[in-house]
Symmetry: C2
Subunit: 300 residues, 2 copies
Amino acid sequence: MIPKQVTIHEVGPRDGLQNIAPLIATQDKVDFINRLSQTGLTHIEVTSFVSPEWIPQLADAKAVMDTITKHPGITYSALVPNQVGLDNALGSNPDKIAFFTAASDAFTQKNLNCTIADSVHIIRKLIPAVKEQAKPIRAYISCIHTCPYTGSISPQVVAQLAKTLYEAGCQEIALGDTTGTATPHDVEAIITEVTEYVPLSSITMHFHDTYGMAVANLYHALTLGISQFDTAIGGLGGCPYARGATGNMATEDAVYLLNGLGIEHPINLPALIETSRWFTQLHGLKNQAKLSAIGNQTDD
Amino acid sequence: MIPKQVTIHEVGPRDGLQNIAPLIATQDKVDFINRLSQTGLTHIEVTSFVSPEWIPQLADAKAVMDTITKHPGITYSALVPNQVGLDNALGSNPDKIAFFTAASDAFTQKNLNCTIADSVHIIRKLIPAVKEQAKPIRAYISCIHTCPYTGSISPQVVAQLAKTLYEAGCQEIALGDTTGTATPHDVEAIITEVTEYVPLSSITMHFHDTYGMAVANLYHALTLGISQFDTAIGGLGGCPYARGATGNMATEDAVYLLNGLGIEHPINLPALIETSRWFTQLHGLKNQAKLSAIGNQTDD
C-alpha cells in the first residue's frame, strides 16, 4: 500500500520562518529559496502574503516572490489569508495559491480573527480569481488533532471541513497536526474520515514534531497510501499561535525515511543537508533535523 | 497485531551514561535510579560491570548496585562483559544479567577486543553461573543494521547470532540498531529473520535516534507484535564506539506513543518527565526527549 513515489512540499521558507522574530534579509530568503530550488525539490512554499502586522517576518512576501529564480520543474506556492493578500500574491504570479483555516474556532479566531465558517466564506470568495488564472489551490486545515486552546478535535469536524473546501474547488487539502499531538492511530482515524469525501491523492499530511511523533505519523500515513507531505528543511518552524509547536517534520529526515523504504522522489539528500546547515548556521537557527546534526558531528 | 501491553526497559543509567565523560557522582546515580524506580518502570538496567579502563563512568558499578533501593516489582539488571565482570556483578545480586555482543566483527573487536565468535564463546562460558542463581539472561546484539566501521549488516547474520545466543540460554535477545540507520522495512526484515529462531516474546528492540527514525521503527515493530523495548530517559546515550550514535529512543516519547495507541504499561509519564528534566538539568546534559522539552517550554 506504500506509494511508489512521494512528493515533498518544502514549507521551510514560509512555515519555517514565520515565527522567527529577528528579521531575515530579503536577499537571504531569496538565496535560501534559490538553493532549495537546486536540491531536486519540486514544490516550495515561498511565503505568505499576510499583513506585516500579523507576521512581520514575511512583510517582504512580494519582493521575495518577485526576486527568486523560478525553475521550470518547480511549483512555487504562496499562502494568502484574504483579498488583499490574494491581490498582492497574484501580482507576483505564484504557481499555486494556498488558503488557510483550522478545525477549531478558537484557533481561527486567534490566527485569522474570525470563525471557521467565516474563514471558509472568505476562501470561497477568493477561489474564482485563482481559478480564472488556472492556478491550483491548496487549503490548509490546521489543528486536525488538537487545538492549543480548546484541546481535542473530532476527525468528523476535520472531514466535514475538508469536504467543504474540496467541493469548493481546493484540489489539495493539507491536513496539519499543528500541535504535534497525534499518534499513528489518530492519523489513521483522520485520514479514514477525510477520505470519505476527498480522494487520497488530494490529501497532503503536514506533521509537527513537538511530541516526537512526526516520523512515526509520516510512516503510518505512507502505509495508508498518502503520497504527499509537507516538511521543512532543518525541522524549522512551528506556528506562532500554537503553544509549544516546535518545528515541522524535517525534510532531510523525511527523505532519509523515503530512501530507506525505497520510495522514489527527486530530492538530492546531500544537497538538502548542505542547504539546511548553511541556512541555519548563517542565521543562528536551531537545526532540528537529525540528518543535518549527524553531518555536523562527523564532517565538521 | 499491536500488543495490548508493552514493557519498557529503561537503559538510561547504563547505556545513557556510559559515554558521558565528566564523572557523575555515585550518589547522583543512585538518586537517579531511585527516582526512576518511582515512575512505574518495571525494568531498569542499573550499570555495567565493565573494566574502569574501558568505561570510567561506570567504575562505580558495584557501589551503585549495592546502594540503590530495590523495589519489589522492579527488575534491576546489570551488563557484564566477562568473567571478572560477572563475578563482581553476582556479588551485588542484580535481578538479571545482560551480555553483550554485536553482529559485526569489527565492532566486537573495537568494543570487546575479540571476534563475534570469541564473544559468544565467552558468553557460553558465563551462562552456567548465572543459571545456577536462577537469574534471567539477556543478550544484546548490537549493530543489527549497520556497523559504524564496515557498513551494512545482513539480517541473516543477526538471526544466526540470535539463534546461537537463544539456544545457549539467553531468554531475552535485545536487538540494537546501534547506528540508528535502520528504517521500518529494515526493522521488519531483521525481525522476520530473527523470529525464524527466537519467539517474538523473547525479542526486545533497542533503537537509537541518530537518523531520526527511532519512533517510526518502534511503531512499526509494535505492528509486528514486538512488546519489549529498550529506551533511555531524556534520549540519553549512544555508544562510545559508534560514530554519530546520538542517543537512544527517549523513554518519555516512547511512552507518549504507547499512550496514544492505547497500549497498557505501568509508567507514569509526568513522573518520568520530571525525573528526566531533573537529572539532565542537574548534570548539564542535553535532554533529547521531545516530551521533556515541551515541559521546559511551557511550564518553566
